[in-house]
Symmetry: C2
Subunit: 237 residues, 2 copies
C-alpha cells in the first residue's frame, strides 16, 4: 500500500508536469487538499514539502503554493541518478560498452576508498559510454563483491542499480560526490575519443546503502564538451 503523502505528491507532481496546473498558478490550499484527499493537513504538508524540495512549487505564507516553471529535461546529474536513467531523457543515441569486468582483492587505493579489509573481494568494472558513436564517458566502478555476487557483463551494460534494487533488494540511499577537472591520462586518451581535448571532467562518487554500508566507488570521466550538470538548490538558513 502506497503511503498517503507519497500518493498526493505523485498526483500533484504529475499535474504540474503535464501542465494541468500551469506555472504561476496557485495550488489548491492546504485545507482544500486535506478535504479532497480525505486526510489530515500534516499529511498534505508532507507532500507539499516534497514538491517544494524538488523545485515544483514555492510556498508563500498568507498566499498559497505557486507552481514554478519546469525546466525542459535538464540532465539531473545532481541527486542520485544512474547513467541508464540519464540516457532515457537524452535524445541522442547512447551505447554502453563494458570494457572490463574483473574480481580483485582489495588493497592500496581501492581498499582505502571502500574502507574495507585488505583482501576483500571487489568487482572492478570499466565501462565506456558512447554518444552518437563517440566514446565520451569512461566509468570505473569498484563494488563489494559480497553484496553483489552475480554481476555479469549483461547486467553491467544495462543498469547495475536496477539489478541491485530489483533483483537483490538492496536499497541505495545516499552518495557523496566530487566534481573536478583533471588532465587526461594516457589510458583515457587511448580508450576515449578525445580529439584535441587534454582535460576531463572527473566525477568521483561514493555510494552508500540504507544501512550506511559504503558499497560502491565510482570514477566517471567526461569529455568536457559532453559534460553538463544542473542543480536546483534551496537556501538553508
Amino acid at each position: 500500500m502506497e503511503k498517503k503523502f507519497q500518493a498526493i505528491y505523485d498526483l500533484l507532481a504529475k499535474e504540474i508536469q503535464t501542465e494541468k496546473i500551469k506555472a504561476g498558478q496557485l495550488l489548491p490550499s492546504e485545507n482544500e487538499l486535506t478535504e479532497r484527499f480525505a486526510t489530515s493537513r500534516e499529511t498534505v504538508r508532507k507532500a507539499l514539502q516534497l514538491l517544494s524540495q524538488n523545485g515544483y512549487i514555492q510556498k508563500l505564507q498568507g498566499k498559497g503554493s505557486v507552481v514554478l516553471e519546469q525546466d525542459k529535461l535538464p540532465l539531473p546529474v545532481s541527486g542520485l541518478t544512474s547513467f541508464k536513467e540519464l540516457s532515457r531523457s537524452m535524445s541522442q543515441k547512447v551505447e554502453t560498452c563494458v570494457t572490463s569486468l574483473s574480481c580483485k582483492k582489495a588493497r592500496g587505493f581501492i581498499q582505502q576508498v571502500l574502507q574495507c579489509e585488505e583482501g576483500t573481494p571487489i568487482w572492478e568494472l570499466h565501462r565506456l559510454r558512447k554518444l552518437d558513436g563517440e566514446s565520451v564517458i569512461y566509468d570505473k566502478d569498484f563494488l563489494l563483491k559480497e553484496l553483489a555476487p552475480g554481476i555479469t557483463e549483461e547486467i553491467a551494460a544495462d543498469s547495475i542499480y536496477d539489478y541491485l534494487e530489483q533483483e537483490l533488494g538492496l536499497s541505495i540511499s545516499y552518495a557523496k560526490k566530487e566534481v573536478v577537472v583533471e588532465e587526461a591520462q594516457a589510458e583515457d586518451k587511448a580508450i576515449m575519443d578525445l580529439g584535441s581535448y587534454q582535460q576531463l571532467v572527473v566525477v568521483r562518487s561514493a555510494v552508500y546503502l540504507e544501512d550506511t554500508t559504503l558499497f560502491q566507488y565510482t570514477e566517471s570521466k567526461h569529455r568536457p564538451d559532453k559534460f553538463r550538470f544542473v542543480d536546483f538548490a534551496r537556501r538553508t538558513k
Copy 2:
C-alpha cells in the same frame, strides 16, 4: 523566538560537528529527545529530517539514527552559498576585486535571462577573485536595480547576499544552476591568470527570492585547476 525544531537541529548539528557524538554512534532515540527537549515527537522528527537531509545522520528503522562521517571542509558550491561564505572555509588567501559596476537598461540576452521588460534598469557587476594572488575566478552578475538600488563597490567587494538579507531584508530562497566547460574567451584570457589553460568551468545560476521573483543572474568562470564541487545527495524514489 527561534523555532523549536530549528533549535534542536542546531544543537544536535553542533554536537556532531564537534564530535561530542562521534560518527558511527547512535543519536538518542526520538522518544528520549522528545523528553529531553520537552516537546512532541513530530517536532523532534522535523529536526532529525533536517539532519538527515544535510548528511549528518542516517535513520535506520528499528535501530535509531546513526551519525555519519563528516567531511573535512568540502567547498559547498552545492546548495546556495556565496563566495564570501565559501572563502571563509578556505585556508588560502582570498581577494575580491570589483572590475566594473554599471547600470544598464535590459535588452537582448540580459533581458531574456532576467525575464524582465525591455529597458528595466539592471546592475551589471564584474568581479575577479584572487587566490594567492592569482586571478582564477571571474564573476559577472546581473541584478534588478529596483530591488537593490544602493549597491556600491564596497558592498560588491564584500558580500552582496549579506547586504540583501541584512540591509534590505530580502530573502534569497532558491536557485537553478548549470555547470559546463567552455572555451575561454579573449576577455577571459585578458583579465584572468590562465597560463596555458584554454578552457574554463562555467557556473551559470539564476537566483530567486521568496516571492519567486527572479532577481539575479550570474556567470562564474573558474580556472579548471581551482574548481571543485562537492555534493551530498539522497536517493529520491
